[in-house]
Structure formats: C-alpha cells, structure tokens
Symmetry: C2
Amino acid sequence: MAAAMKNRQVVLASRPLGIPQAEHFRIAQADVPDLRDGQFLVRNEFLSVEPAMRGWVNAAANYADPVPIGGVMRSFAAGTVTASRHAGYAVGDKVMGMLGWQEWAVSDGTGIRRKVREAGLPLSLSLGVLGINGLTAYFALTEVGQPRPGDTVVVSTAAGAVGSAVGQIAKIAGCRTVGIAGGPTKRQQCLDEFGYDAAVDYKAPDFIAQLAAACPRGVDVYYDNTSGSITDAVVQRINKNARIVVCGTASVSSWDPWPSGPRIERHLLNKSARMQGFLVWDYEHRYEEAVAKLAPWVRDGRLKYREEILDGLESAPDAIAGLYRGENQGKRLIRLPPEAAHGV
Amino acid sequence: MAAAMKNRQVVLASRPLGIPQAEHFRIAQADVPDLRDGQFLVRNEFLSVEPAMRGWVNAAANYADPVPIGGVMRSFAAGTVTASRHAGYAVGDKVMGMLGWQEWAVSDGTGIRRKVREAGLPLSLSLGVLGINGLTAYFALTEVGQPRPGDTVVVSTAAGAVGSAVGQIAKIAGCRTVGIAGGPTKRQQCLDEFGYDAAVDYKAPDFIAQLAAACPRGVDVYYDNTSGSITDAVVQRINKNARIVVCGTASVSSWDPWPSGPRIERHLLNKSARMQGFLVWDYEHRYEEAVAKLAPWVRDGRLKYREEILDGLESAPDAIAGLYRGENQGKRLIRLPPEAAHGV
C-alpha cells in the first residue's frame, strides 16, 4: 500500500441544533494509515444517507454518543476489502458496516455489520432493502408488531425506504395494509408500487376522514416512524391488543424543548395495547436470518424498493437535509467513483 | 322465598362529569324477584369501592358501557348463596363477582368471577388482596412487567390496595422495590408495612431528587397507576428494555379535554422500552392460578394488606369520592349487616 494514499472524508464542522445542513460539514483529506495486524482496508463504494443521522450529530441524549466535531461523519457504507491483515476478512470480500462518509476505511472488524454474499443482487441493496432499512422493517414488524393474517397494519412514512418494506412484508404476512404518506404522488406510489390495500395523504385536509375510511376494522399494528399528529390520529383507532412500533420520530424537528402531545396512557389502558421502541441494533445477531428471508422476496419481485443514488462525496453534506426536505425518492445513497478516477 | 323480600340498592341518580360524588347516587328499594331455572340468589356481605368505578359511570368511551341512569351501581361484591335453581351453585357457596351495590343479587352465573374457597381467610379478602386488587397486581407485574431478580421496580400509588401488592410481589421476585406515595405517612407505610427498599413522596418539593436517589441503577419496571407528572418523572429514568405497565390514571381528574404531556415516543425509542396497558379482565381464565400463589403469601405474612371497612349501604354513595380525596387507608369495602338486622 502506498504511503501517500489519500482519503477524502466528510467531517462534522459544527454541531447542528436540529436537522444537519450542508454547512455543518466540510470535506477534508487525510492519509490512509498503514494496516496493523488485525486490520483491513475497505474501499467504500456506497455511502448511506438516513434520517437517523440527525440524531448522531445532535448533542441531545440519544442511543449513541454524538459524532465529535472534526470527526468523520458516522454512516453505514458498503465496499470491498482491498488489503487485509485480518484472518476473517480477505481481499475481495464485500462488507457493510459503520465505515463512515469517506473513501477508505480501516477496520478491525468492530464496525462491520455483515459480509454481503447475496448472489446476483447489487451491493447497494446491502444499505437499503437488504440492509438496515430492510432489517429494521423485518424485525420491527415481525418481532414487535407481531402481525397476524387479517390484521390491519398502518404504516407511516409508507413510501420511504423502511416503511415501504414494512407494508410489503405485512402484505406477505396476510395483513390488510394501509400506508400514510405525504402528498398525492407518494400516496399513489404506495398503491401502485408498494401494493398497499389503501393509502392516505397526511397533508390532505381530510386526512382524518381518509384514515377512518381506510381502516374500517380499526388498527391492529401501527408502524410509527413519525410521532406527532399522524400518530395521534392513528392511536384514536387502535383495536384491542394493538401493537404500536416506535421506530422513528420524523415529524419532530427538535427535542429541545421536548414536545408535548395528547397523553397516550388511557388509549393503551382501554385497549390493553402496547407501544414499544425499536432499535435494529438489538437484533444484530439475527441479521442473516432476516436477509435469508428478504433476499428471495426481492428476487421474486414481492419486495420492491427504490434507490436514489447521488454521485460523489461532494453530494454528502446536503444529503441529510434533503431527506428532511422530502426530496428523495427511495433509499438515498452516495456512490463513490472507482479508485482510479481521482488518481491514487 | 318470601315474595315480600325487599332489596335495598344504590342506584345512579345522575351522570357525573368527573369523580362521582354522593349526590350522583340514591338509595332505592326493589323487590327481590323469584328465582327462575338457572338462577341463584346471593346475599351480599361485602361491597367493593374502587377508583375504576369512576370510569364505569362516566359517559366517555371506556372499556365497558357506562352504568345507566337509574341502574344499580356496578361493583364487585362477595356473599353467600342463599337459594339456588342453578346446578353449579349450591346454598352456602361463597362467591365473588359483579353483584352490584345492593343487598341481594340474583345471578345466572354470568357476573360471577370466582367461588371463594380459601380456607381460614376472611371472605373480604376476595375483594382485595385475593380479589381484583391482588389479581391485578399479580398479572400486571408478572405478565407485563416481567420482573427479573435484581431489577429496580418502581410502583406508583405504592401504599394503595394494588400498588402495595405489586411492591411486595416484586420483592418476593427478588427485585429492588421503590414506592411512590403521597405524603410522609404513606411514604413511611411503604417502608414499614409493605417492605419497599426505598420510598419517595411525590408531594415533597424534592420529589425528583428523592426519586433519583432511590433509583441509582435506573428503572426496569414501572407500575404506572397515575399517569401525569409522576409518570413523566419516572420515564426520565428508565433503563434499556424497561417495561411500563399502565394500570390506571389516578392523577388525571378528567379526560375531557384530553390532557397533554411530554411525548413518550423518544424515551421508548432510545431505550427499546415498552409501555403497555393492562386490564385484569384479560386474565379472567387464570384467576385461580394467581390466587393459588397469593393465598399462601398472605398466610405466611409475606403479602400484607390493609382493609378499611365502612358499615352499611348508606356509606356507599360518598365512598368513591372519598377514595379520590385520599382518605382511605387500604382497600375500601362496605360491609352489609346480616339479613335479620333489618327485618326481612
């Protein structure tokens, strides 16, 4: 490995209070360090962009320490091992893990989530429908949502990377699926592309009436990725023993001050219902089990997905803000050019 | 049976908006009807008084239809079968069930929750520590709370009829128990009488600090019988995979308008925690299993209880309001005089 090999990185320049914008990041350059025993080098080919990254840079207490100022932006990425002094990783292995928004990543295996072995499917899927998005959808729905055939499953952010998978997996499980999305285009996408039985537009003035009409038998499972007024509307319609899976709080722009809303306790009590937080990290030991289910569904077309691929590291700084502007169409990824293209 | 036998009853005179007061009830007199085939007659000896009765008379949607105006007040009661044309119930059987605030109840068995067979224990316990209170404590804690040895279990209304049992059952399960009660007397009762490891006074100005000191390792299980600011304080301290069992909302005086509070979703998400409503009716098929556990604990003194017995039907109308005034010491019951005393 050449000592002069350069690694371009997106680092956190300042700490955002809410949604991280382009100006909170800058592009820096570092040397790729020599490998020590037990390490290997990954050439990142795809970097992930996801809503949760907001929480990774905010100072507020969260489920992980925030990215330090000046640190490489934490992210999932997928790439190929190009050099190795680690017995478990060979040159040519495809890996997915917390490799950061950078061209090259040195790893001792700690941040690696899985080796990507699915034959005949693009590596990018390991960051989307076969990655954290699909794994989140699978475990959140099956383990916490526990859908039974005939159940009505309501999905918020229904056309999103996770939500669209939740809806389709629920359909495969024999449920009636109802998608909630923003605007007529996404609503139609729920119906045409992701096969929801019904879809409602939370931005429409008659949202509440749309929701009621879409759930004539109430709500058994609610995949809650929004919190806020969408959740408040769904909770009104839960059935006995309903399961609410809290996976995200996309509608809440800031937790300082902490937002208020209608108290949930009486709804849960009246219906013996359950509201439970879900973190996909809790299921890391079971990822392969889920991929083994999901990959065949992708191959046979029962589990559709959308990707939106941005090109080059320069597109990264504004990419999270763009998610919150709602401009993405499907799982947002950043594709890095092949190594030779910028002359290592 | 004499045709002239009279039955004094407490009926709902008007519908309260919040907590039912004495003036919402009146005492009426009806004939005891002749028994038809499949019916039996119970002489009520103890009538139950409990916070949930507020919900049974309010018009707001709840888990049961409200008591109609002019109807006998719904309640648990325990008594003895004095006449029977039902093959399953014999004269002399002790029964507990939804027999109402009245002296005599004709039943076809529908409202009966169980036959009381515990040897050497007072019948009144079938309405308290061996009745709905103890059953609620047992199933709410074990089935929803799922305590493990070493867990910190926090109990609101900790000196109450259900809460005190929750705390003691959690202690038997090997947990550290922390009681929350109102005022220094109830707080001391938690420590001296119900064996909590720590107790805090939610009315004290330093409640939050008391709670923090009592839970140095956070909160694994929270028995929530209050909602409101007590719950908001406990939720701040929950551990990974915490279980919040919602059994009541005693601190909420009205659900019209629906009260607001800090949103719970982010707490549940950050901790993969669960908040679940509990209704003891869901466990009716398992009552005997629980009584078989609870009765030996009562006999050997590991499960202590307090009863507060009011005398006569006349004490019923104000009895629910009294609970909400916090004047009761232990499970509140109304004892009816023996049949002969008012000259049937």
